[in-house]
Structures are given as structure tokens and as C-alpha cells.
């Protein structure tokens, strides 16, 4: 993966309190540190998402604490939980109503693949009807895994061409494609040793 990160302390001008960068890198930097999530808490993963937002794990450290319950103001949809077919239309509609640029995170086994619900009622992964950028394994994932997924999306955002000149249709089509996909398999469960 090519690193396009061109903002940070290594861009500091020697001997001065000045950091030089490019405009699109600066825009990406602002974007990635102000991700406003749309918490699509469909099932039990939503509880872990709440824990990720609460003080112990503190998603605010990554600038993503502003949970927006309106698609007009949110950048990242976190699908947390089992998506049944009846809810799929709702998820898709909310996703379609979110303004570009937007990213999607499938949190947990159910949102990623359907999980243990191999049944007629459950969508076998939300990527069947919308682009998913980051998949997080776990049933449910630990909040640390959510944070790792968020950091992966941040790295992804930092590499996006924010100023690339594209026609509106091209841009819409590019947002309909998943970036990545990034799969988070972090094992954050506390180790239990048998006595």
C-alpha cells in the first residue's frame, strides 16, 4: 500500500514552527479527524458500539464522537448488528441519503457475512446491497476492534484524492465502490488461562 501521508510532524520546516503540506492532504487530514458516524445499531453489536463511544474506550480520541442520527450530517455508517431483509431497505435508504464523501463499516459477523444466522430472514452481509469499506470480525467485536477499524478508515481517507477533478456522475460511481475492503481480525479478547 503506497503511503500518501504528507501531513504531520515530518513535514516540519527545519527551525520554524511551520508545517508545509499539499491542499488535498490537508483536506484529507481534516476529514479523517472529524468523522461523524451514523450509528446503525441493529442488534447487540450496537451495545459494543456504545461502549466504544463511552469514556473507557473513548472514540472521541479519533474525532469520531459526534454520533449523528441524521444522514445529512454523517460521514461514516457503522452497521452494527444483524441486518434482516425487512431492515435492509431502511439501511440502504439511509445510506443513499448520506452526503458524499461517505464511508461504511460493517461491524461484527452478522453485518459482514450474516454471521450465525444462516436463515431466510437475514441478509448474508450488508455488502450485498451497499459498499462496505471495513469489515470487523467478532461476535460482537471488542470496542478496540471498532477503533482499529476506524483507524483503518482514517488511513484510507488520508490517501483519497480530495481535489481530483471528476464529473459528478464519476464521483457518485466512485463512492458506490468499496475502498479496500479492509478486514479487521484483531483479537482483543482478554486472555483467560485455565487453572
Amino acid at each position: 500500500m503506497s503511503e500518501r501521508i504528507e501531513i504531520g510532524i515530518d513535514q516540519k520546516v527545519e527551525g520554524r514552527d511551520v508545517i508545509i503540506t499539499r491542499v488535498d492532504a490537508a483536506i484529507d487530514w481534516m476529514r479523517k479527524n472529524s468523522i461523524w458516524p451514523m450509528p446503525m445499531g441493529l442488534a447487540c453489536c450496537g451495545i459494543e458500539l456504545m461502549a466504544a463511544g463511552a469514556s473507557r474506550f473513548d472514540i472521541a480520541r479519533f474525532g469520531a464522537e459526534v454520533m449523528r442520527f441524521s444522514p445529512r450530517q454523517s460521514d461514516l455508517m457503522i452497521v452494527a448488528g444483524t441486518c434482516v431483509y425487512k431492515m435492509a431497505g431502511v439501511v440502504k435508504r439511509v445510506w443513499d441519503q448520506m452526503a458524499e464523501p461517505k464511508w461504511c463499516m460493517a461491524m461484527g459477523a452478522c453485518a459482514s457475512t450474516g454471521g450465525m444466522y444462516r436463515s431466510y430472514a437475514v441478509v448474508q452481509g450488508v455488502d450485498q446491497f451497499m459498499p462496505v469499506d471495513v469489515y470487523i470480525s467478532g461476535c460482537p467485536p471488542r470496542p478496540e476492534a471498532v477503533l482499529e477499524g476506524l483507524m483503518a478508515i482514517q488511513r484510507q481517507i488520508q490517501q483519497e484524492p480530495a481535489l481530483k477533478n471528476m464529473k459528478r456522475e464519476q464521483r457518485a460511481a466512485s463512492y458506490a465502490q468499496p475502498r479496500g475492503p479492509i478486514i479487521i481480525r484483531g483479537d482483543y479478547a482478554p486472555k483467560v488461562t485455565a487453572q
Binding site: V90, R93, V94, D96, Q97, E100
Partner: protein, 152 residues
């Protein structure tokens, strides 16, 4: 006087604001504040037009947000004007009750002075009110729901 203005700016950027005696020079700070404010506002408008991207529209995105459900009805529904009517009648009768308060406050005192005319004056006033009240009542203006509901 351009020299004086220049001196004022140097004073603002420098140390001593107290030395400025000319009243006009004191407003240079306000002028600078306005310049900064206008500059920030214009900058916030100009920068997105240069750097930002045009919004991507779609029929779904432009439709109202109803928690992901298609909206069932229009947001601007028609509703009964009953509230307006009842509120207006309340104001009318409320003011009439205010007149009664003054009448009741001096009732005992004036009953000894002018006798039954005190009672008769109030009774006539009340009678006139009651005619209007009964008229409203008969018209159904006090009913919260209309008796005949006509669906067109």
C-alpha cells in the same frame, strides 16, 4: 490625515492604546475587527467554492429523512382551525370577566349607595354576554370536534 491613521494602526499593533486622544482613531480597532469578520465570512464562502465539490443529487437523497422509511404523507397537512376559534372566544370572554372583577370589588359598597341599580347594571351586562355565549354554543364553536365530518 494619512499620517495620523498610520500612527493609529501602529498604536493598535504596538503597545499604547491609551495615548490615542483622537476619537476617530479609537474606531480603527473596530474597523480592523470588521475587516477580520468580513474576511473570515468571505473566506468561508470562497474556499468551499474553490476546494469543495458539487453535491451529488438523487431522488432518494432529496426526499425527506423519515428514519429510512418512505414518507407516508406530506409534511404540510391540513388541520382544523378549531384551536384558533376557541382561543379567540377565550380572549373575548376573558376580557368580559375582567370587567366583572372591578364590578364585584365595589359591589357591597355601591349597593348601599345606589341600591338595586348596582345589581341591575351587572345583570344587563351579563345578559348581553350570555346572548353571545349561547349563540357561540348553539353554533358549535365550543365543540372541539365538529359534529358533521365530511370527507370529500
Amino acid at each position: 490625515m494619512p499620517t495620523a491613521v498610520g500612527a493609529g494602526v501602529s498604536h493598535i499593533l504596538g503597545v499604547s492604546l491609551v495615548e490615542m486622544e483622537n476619537e476617530l482613531q479609537q474606531f480603527i480597532a473596530v474597523g480592523l475587527l470588521m475587516l477580520v469578520a468580513i474576511g473570515m465570512a468571505v473566506g468561508m464562502l470562497v474556499l468551499p467554492t474553490i476546494l469543495g465539490k458539487k453535491r451529488i443529487h438523487s431522488p432518494v437523497k432529496d426526499s425527506p429523512y423519515e428514519c429510512g422509511m418512505p414518507s407516508e404523507t406530506e409534511a404540510h397537512t391540513r388541520f382544523s382551525v378549531k384551536f384558533y376559534l376557541v382561543a379567540m372566544l377565550f380572549i373575548l370572554f376573558d376580557i368580559e370577566v375582567v370587567f366583572f372583577l372591578g364590578w364585584a370589588a365595589v359591589y357591597r359598597q355601591l349597593l348601599g349607595e345606589i341600591g338595586y341599580r348596582m345589581l341591575a347594571g351587572g345583570a344587563v351586562f351579563l345578559l348581553i354576554l350570555e346572548v353571545g355565549h349561547i349563540y357561540c354554543w348553539k353554533k358549535g364553536a365550543l365543540d372541539w370536534t365538529p359534529k358533521k365530518v365530511s370527507h370529500e
